[in-house]
């Protein structure tokens, strides 16, 4: 142990460790999309979090803009993100941050080492004007490629010395595409710098001149020290943007030269034709001002001002604002105060955390038993409820609460949560799908129990109505949810062949979901017990701990005296009894029988799952032998486990859980060999573990199982590294 550190040093080291608990920065071993190491958070906005990151492949610094979760926080986000990337990647301009790469949940951009214009205290006027001129030329370049920024503001202009870079074409909407995403598109943006056509919800009217307005508003802000409109709440702010004239710049900041103020006010005209026709014209006029020439912008005539006053139809304007607010609907809640971003960030964090808890619950179901699973769910439910007590109108959190409740078997409570989410946001597609899936599940369960009633029939109709959202709003949903909805609809409408086909689709794109149990049930209903068993086993294999998988496995055991039945029972027993350490002991006491069933399965070469099961048996055996200090025998058992997992991987080389398990087996081997002083074996085992983890990482990212395996790997490597 070192000499005691001074308190300041300790505080600094602790502060530095904080990065470990920000989930996205949590594990510097883990690379985002196998390539980007997140280094620090640069900022948060309505759509996600921006990080400084390292591209380990090209060894350069990049900025990664990451959505907390694609499609989970609102409709259409991930589609919008990809659109953004497609658009911005076409731009090549020294004053526009380049886009390098795009994923469904993240955009990788050029890292600009500077500070946002919003952070520059009292910039010199000539420098400020030169920056805006250059930014306007860059924006014009984008306009020529059919892209409107839609969210220009001081925060999005990065400055370093004399250079300015326009970042975050985060809301770029390709002019050519009339998008159905305009609902969310129209609300995202910063109302203080937003042109009236955007604030009024007239998304179709947004064009190049909208960016001219935003550039003018930015210039206004930096000259006056505040945006053109300042109101205490969102409604008043939007109304002011649509309806009011901004206070004359020279009233707020008399030192601003008159000509420059004219340029700014020309940008801020309510009617687009009265603004500069293009960002290039704005740039030219700023250039004239810098050169000391006369600008083209003129003060509006008295007659015009009078006419404008008469023309204004206050009622119509107010109605437009209200309509816009209704259209904005769901997103308004988090805008109401300056704390808006904090609330969004908090919501995103919570939703991400709840998703993690859902995943954990499923993953832990097998390993730590139902009690650990329940604990995860309870924690998630408790934190969702606590959050909702503070922010009752958070439909995203209601949705997650519903999913957690459903997972923990509280179906009626789950339905109520979905109802609340939908009461706040009537057409929230993810909630409609979840409610539909739950209703469909309940209908199925009651039918299976032999019920047949008018009420059940009505519920079936309601489920089908919910699930129909998948057809209407597929862009707002995760692909897997769309397919699940279709498959469930087919099942409810008694089209089993189609349901089977659709569920296979689901299984193909998302092997961890409920498809295999459903397929097992369908196969059983169609009198194909072999297929039913195969599906049940693959359900167990892919989602150990996911209750429906075990239910399916046990239900396939109709025919007596088959190894399948026996295995299903063994698995069920394993699941039911893994409730605590005592029960684990019981399981440790039965590996012989457990392995025996699994071995008989393996002889039939039925599935990769059978091998995986036998491997588990061997691992249990190894654990017991290790506890009894029978190291050699434990090593032999580990080798058999590794071999079985190898067989499983021969059948399905992309079985991530198997890869992780084999890496863990190798780690355990390394530790045992370390104890025996067999250094070269340690190294070889560590290499093998590393190889498997690398393979797994290429197949998935963000798997909790993989993250854990890697954590254990780094822990073991450190321990053994000292002995190496």
């Amino acid at each position: 142990m070192s000499a005691e550190l001074p308190p300041e040093a300790r505080a600094r080291l602790l502060a530095d460790a904080r990065a470990l608990v920000q989930p996205t920065l949590g594990n510097s071993v883990e690379l985002l999309h196998g390539r980007y190491r997140l280094l620090r958070e640069l900022g948060r906005g309505g759509m996600g979090v921006v990080y400084e990151a390292e591209d380990v492949a090209l060894r350069r610094r990049v900025a990664v803009k990451r959505l907390a979760l694609p499609a989970a926080v609102g409709p259409g986000l991930s589609e919008q993100v990809l659109r953004e990337a497609r658009a911005a990647a076409r731009l090549d301009h020294p004053n526009i941050a380049a886009v390098y790469d795009a994923y469904a949940d993240a955009i990788v951009m050029q890292f600009v080492d500077g500070q946002p214009l919003s952070d520059v205290a009292r910039p010199p006027v000539r420098q400020l004007v030169a920056w805006i001129r250059d930014a306007a030329r860059a924006v014009h370049h984008a306009h020529e490629h059919g892209i409107v920024h839609r969210d220009l503001k001081p925060h999005n202009l990065m400055v370093a010395g004399e250079r300015v870079v326009v970042t975050d074409f985060g809301l770029a909407k390709e002019l050519a595409v009339d998008t159905s995403l305009s609902l969310s598109g129209s609300v995202l943006g910063t109302p203080s710098y937003m042109p009236p056509e955007q604030a009024g919800g007239r998304a179709r009217e947004v064009d190049a001149r909208s960016d001219v307005y935003a550039l003018g508003a930015t210039l206004y802000d930096r000259l006056a020290g505040r945006p053109p409109f300042v109101e205490k709440d969102l409604v008043a702010l939007l109304r002011a943007v649509v309806e009011d004239e901004p206070a004359p710049l020279r009233v707020i900041a008399p030192e601003v030269p008159r000509d420059l103020a004219l340029v700014v006010h020309k940008c801020l005209e309510k009617e687009k034709p009265r603004r500069y026709a293009s960002a290039a014209e704005l740039a030219d006029d700023l250039e004239r001002w810098l050169d000391g020439r006369a600008v083209l912008a003129k003060a509006p005539s008295r007659r015009y001002r009078l006419a404008k006053g008469l023309r204004r139809h206050r009622t119509a304007v107010a109605a437009a604002v209200l309509l816009a607010l209704v259209t904005f609907g769901a997103v308004v809640w988090n805008w109401t105060e300056r704390a808006a971003t904090a609330a969004i960030g908090e919501t995103l964090d919570l939703v991400e955390d709840l998703n993690l808890k859902l995943d954990n619950a499923r993953a832990l179901g097998a390993g730590e038993g139902p009690s650990a699973m329940g604990e995860q769910l309870e924690q998630g439910i408790a934190s969702a409820r606590a959050f909702l007590a503070r922010h009752p109108e958070t439909f995203q959190v209601e949705l997650k609460l519903g999913e957690l409740l459903r997972e923990s078997g509280q179906h009626q409570e789950a339905l109520l949560a979905f109802e609340r989410a939908l009461a706040q946001y009537e057409d929230y597609a993810p909630a409609l799908v979840q409610r539909g899936l739950l209703r469909a599940y309940l209908v199925g369960a009651r039918r299976a129990a032999g019920e047949s009633s008018a009420e059940l029939e009505a519920m079936r109709a309601l489920a089908l109505a919910d699930l129909a959202v998948a057809e209407r709003r597929s862009h707002a949903l995760r692909e897997v949810d769309v397919r699940l909805a279709r498959a469930e609809s087919a099942r409810l409408e008694d089209r089993p062949d189609e349901a089977q086909r659709l569920y296979r689709d689901v299984a193909r794109i998302a092997p961890h979901l409920e498809a295999p149990p459903a397929l097992a049930a369908l196969a059983l209903a169609q009198g194909d017990p072999d297929e039913a068993f195969r599906q049940a086993m693959s359900a167990v294999d892919l989602a150990r701990g996911f209750a429906p998988a075990y239910v399916a496995a046990s239900e396939t055991a109709d025919a007596p005296d088959t190894p399948e039945e026996a295995a299903a029972r063994a698995i069920r027993q394993h699941q039911c009894s893994a409730a605590g350490d005592e029960a684990t002991l019981t399981i440790d006491g039965i590996p012989g029988r457990f392995t025996d069933w699994a071995a008989r399965l393996a002889e039939k070469k039925s599935t990769a799952g059978a091998y995986a099961l036998r491997a588990i048996g061997e691992v249990r055996r190894a654990a017991r032998l290790k506890a009894e200090d029978k190291t050699t025998e434990a090593l032999a058992a580990l080798d058999r486990a590794a071999e079985d997992i190898g067989h499983a991987l021969t059948i399905d080389s992309e079985l991530v859980p198997a890869l992780c398990d084999r890496a863990l087996v190798a780690l355990e081997r390394a530790q045992l060999c370390g104890g025996l002083g067999r250094t070269s074996d340690v190294r070889e085992a560590l290499n093998r573990a590393q190889d498997d983890l690398d393979r797994a990482a290429k197949l998935v990212s963000g798997s909790e199982q993989l993250r854990t395996a890697r954590g254990l790997f780094s822990s073991r490597e450190t321990e053994l590294g000292l002995a190496r």
Binding site: A623, A627, D629
Partner: protein, 235 residues
């Protein structure tokens, strides 16, 4: 994932039921050694002992823990070594107090309740509670061990300069030193300093994570324990 199957961290090695194997005792000894200082801080606060006496008492505590069937009882509900250690220490300290008082009263005939007047927590409200003392010392122990591991690893890899930058950055008293000062002191560019620091910081974090991992038995506890570790200490 089948996390429950695998004897993976030191704490899960300890937790695993069944016969008391050598592996388990070794794992417990390793953990106890790492967290000896926090345990002593607890004993010192609970029994109002000087540190040297607490240091001696720790050996008794460890022997008591091995001899009693604490380990067997500990298992399932204690996902974290820190929580387990607190309970064990509390019971041990209560025992000690009881013995002490019985001796003062001149006989040990009376039976005391574990949670009654003899419980160590009620001693004094002004000084930190034993739990607080342990927590503070625990944070320090983890950070120092991670720092030490970082140092050792850098020494082994002969990247002494990287460590020198890291040390100067973290160990300087007063405000955080800026990169330019560090660059000048070590004859580096500020980019070098930034790169060195980034790498050493990452290594330090990994060591810290590995250390914490060894005190928990499943992945969800790891997150919670890390979060606890870095949460601001409140006065």
């Amino acid at each position: 994932m089948d996390a429950g199957i695998f004897p993976t961290t030191l704490w899960s090695d300890v937790r695993r039921g069944g016969a008391v194997g050598k592996a388990r005792e070794a794992a417990l000894a390793a953990l106890a050694q790492r967290y000896q200082a926090p345990a002593e801080a607890y004993l010192a606060a609970a029994l109002r002992l000087p540190r040297e006496r607490a240091h001696e008492l720790f050996q008794e505590f460890f022997a008591w823990m091995l001899a009693s069937d604490w380990l067997a009882k500990a298992a399932p509900e204690r996902g974290r070594f820190r929580a387990f250690l607190k309970v064990a220490l509390r019971n041990f300290a209560t025992d000690e107090l009881r013995k002490e008082r019985a001796a003062k009263r001149g006989g040990g005939a009376r039976t005391e309740s574990l949670d009654g007047e003899d419980a160590p927590e009620v001693l004094d409200h002004a000084t930190p509670t034993p739990d607080e003392a342990l927590d503070a010392a625990w944070r320090a122990a983890v950070v120092e061990a991670a720092f030490e591991r970082t140092r050792l690893a850098l020494e082994r890899s002969e990247r002494g300069l990287a460590f020198a930058v890291f040390r100067d950055y973290y160990l300087a008293g007063g405000p955080e030193p800026d990169y330019r000062t560090l660059a000048a002191r070590h004859g580096l560019t500020t980019t070098d300093v930034s790169n060195y620091l980034q790498r050493t910081k990452n290594a330090y974090r990994e060591h810290l994570r590995a250390l914490v991992l060894d005190t928990v038995a499943n992945p969800s506890d790891l997150g919670d324990e890390l979060a606890w570790l870095v949460t601001e200490e409140r006065p």
